[in-house]
């Protein structure tokens, strides 16, 4: 067995990125994700990598854009307000079809908001944030171990599909410590014939750009990109089922909320309530198949650290044919297992609207 070590969620992301072959990190400090940058600052110089604290979030995402265009595995990390600043760069990266890993350890918003954990950037991550028609693969870790494994997975998916993978974590998972293991990671490497590596006068030069002045050409690019997105929706959805075999009351939660929800579902089962949990691991693509498989379900409860964002995707996935209620806290607060349990009991009694 590989060695167990005790890590913070943020450190696990940084170490996993290094193991995945990332040697270029560009960022700007913000609570609660600063340990990612601190870890990179300590480690990168020792392994011949680049750690660069840019003058702003906008500068750092454009450095990511540049290094990605040059074919490197590259990443940046920030927290909610910082991700808003990076939105322009995310759109350019999407429009140029280059791969990158972006980490958002969410805190409460909107605006400067607070520094405590939140999941209120769900819309921003899964529906856009930047301008134009584009998607990002959005991965939602629920443990320190998953902070590591989904970071490695995120780099792979980014290279495979030439697009951004976002790790959508929250302040609690970023800060908490758990023992983890780094298995000997199989790193898949991808040919990048499109990368700007220098022609050495032996091939036509490559261009990385998101500007298309001919509308026909820009439309074709968008159509092509959406064919790729359809492929991803078909192949890459990930989720976890917990006690779903005969579940009638289905709790849906991701990240830190799923851990609270799991406790509540376990307690509900002890009371004889047929409760279960669907934990989306990919938020885009949303795991619609999990909901199609939930044939015994008669009500859904979306548990979120926001005013209710994922709940819209739950309604779409269930085609609005079952009641879906929201159990939430906002602004940096986390729902307690009792709050979730109360919502489960209410739905069990058929009082859910």
């Amino acid at each position: 067995m590989a060695e167990r070590i005790l890590m913070k969620g943020n450190e696990a992301i940084a170490e996993a990125a290094i193991r995945a072959g990332c040697r270029h990190y560009f960022g700007y400090p913000i609570t609660p994700q600063t340990e990612i940058a601190a870890y990179m600052a300590k480690k990168m110089p020792k392994i011949g990598g680049v750690f660069l604290q840019a003058e702003s979030e906008i500068a750092s995402i454009n450095m990511v854009y540049g290094a990605a265009a040059a074919g490197f595995r590259v990443m940046t990390s920030s927290s909610s307000p910082g991700i808003s600043l990076k939105a322009e760069g995310l759109s350019y990266i999407a429009g140029s079809d280059v791969p990158a890993l972006v980490v958002n350890v969410q805190r409460g918003g909107p605006g400067l908001g607070g520094i405590q954990p939140s999941q209120s950037d769900y819309f921003q991550a899964t529906k856009g944030g930047g301008h134009g028609d584009y998607r990002m693969i959005v991965l939602a870790p629920a443990s320190v171990q998953e902070m590591a494994s989904l970071t490695i997975k995120g780099f792979d998916l980014a290279d495979k599909y030439r697009m951004t993978s976002m790790i959508l974590a929250d302040g609690t998972i970023g800060q908490m410590m758990e023992p983890i293991t780094f298995e000997d990671t199989e790193i898949t490497t991808y040919d990048k014939p499109w990368a700007l590596t220098g022609t050495e006068c032996r091939r036509p030069h490559n261009v990385v750009n998101s500007l298309y002045l001919k509308p026909e050409e820009l439309e074709r690019k968008n159509f092509e990109r959406y064919e790729k997105y359809a492929e991803i929706e078909k192949n890459e959805a990930m989720w976890e089922d917990y006690m779903m075999d005969d579940a009638e009351i289905v709790v849906v939660a991701f990240g830190i909320a799923s851990r609270v929800a799991k406790n509540a579902v376990a307690t509900a089962r002890k009371e004889g309530i047929k409760a279960g949990l669907i934990r989306p691991i990919t938020l885009w693509p949303f795991p619609n198949a999990a909901f199609e498989a939930a044939v015994s379900a008669r009500a859904f409860i979306s548990v979120e650290l926001s005013m209710g964002q994922m709940i819209e995707d739950v309604r779409l996935a269930t085609k609005c044919d079952k009641p879906v209620t929201l159990c939430n806290r906002a602004g940096g607060m986390i729902p307690s297992p009792d709050e979730v349990l109360t919502a489960i009991r209410t739905a069990w009694k058929g009082e859910a609207k």
Binding site: L6, E11, P32, Y39, M176, E178, P337
Partner: protein, 232 residues
Amino acid sequence: MNHKRLTLFAGHYGSGKTNIAVNYALLLASEGKRVCIADLDIVNPYFRTKDSEGELVAAGVHLVSPAYANSNVDLPALPAESYRLIQDRSTYGIMDIGGDDRGAYALGRYAEAIREENNYRMAFVLNCYRPLTATVEDAIGIMREIEAAAGLKFTCIVNNSNLGPETTPETLLATQDFASRLSRETGLEIWLYTAEERVAEEISGLPVLPLRLQSKFFDLPSSGLHGLNGGS
């Protein structure tokens, strides 16, 4: 256990300083001493001494923490009341220092007064399961950085090596060689071993301070997780 009037806990971030400082304060209070604990962590606003305020106050421990700790305007500013620890010699003072050298800069403010009284213990909290202190050389490196930032030298080591909820007595016992080497190479005594109370119960023949940890409700029942050994 003999006590100095001032006890400072410093070390790598995430090594367990806050949990140890809080439990040590409670131990002193249980021996009938007047105790004051100061949260000097200006680095990390998550998981801090103030989280244990209820327990500390109930035990009669006076808590000094930054004015807006645990709020959304958590500022890296230390309250003037911190000097009470230094100046009120009728009280046992405990200082919880922020992680790494960055956290230890805050201690520099008080270094001269602490040296002058010269009745203090500055403990290097070690967890050799943390990746950046996983070798004796790395641990010494961080120790020296903290000393340079704080303007104070460590006087002893606290071996808090653990794997969070997976810690067993063997987890701690297996690190004795590591801790002894660190002790030999730095000339510092190993003052204490620390472990979560249920693990500590099973260890004999070592001076183990049992730690009661805060439990969080996102702990998973399946893993038997009942407390996070978290944060600086």
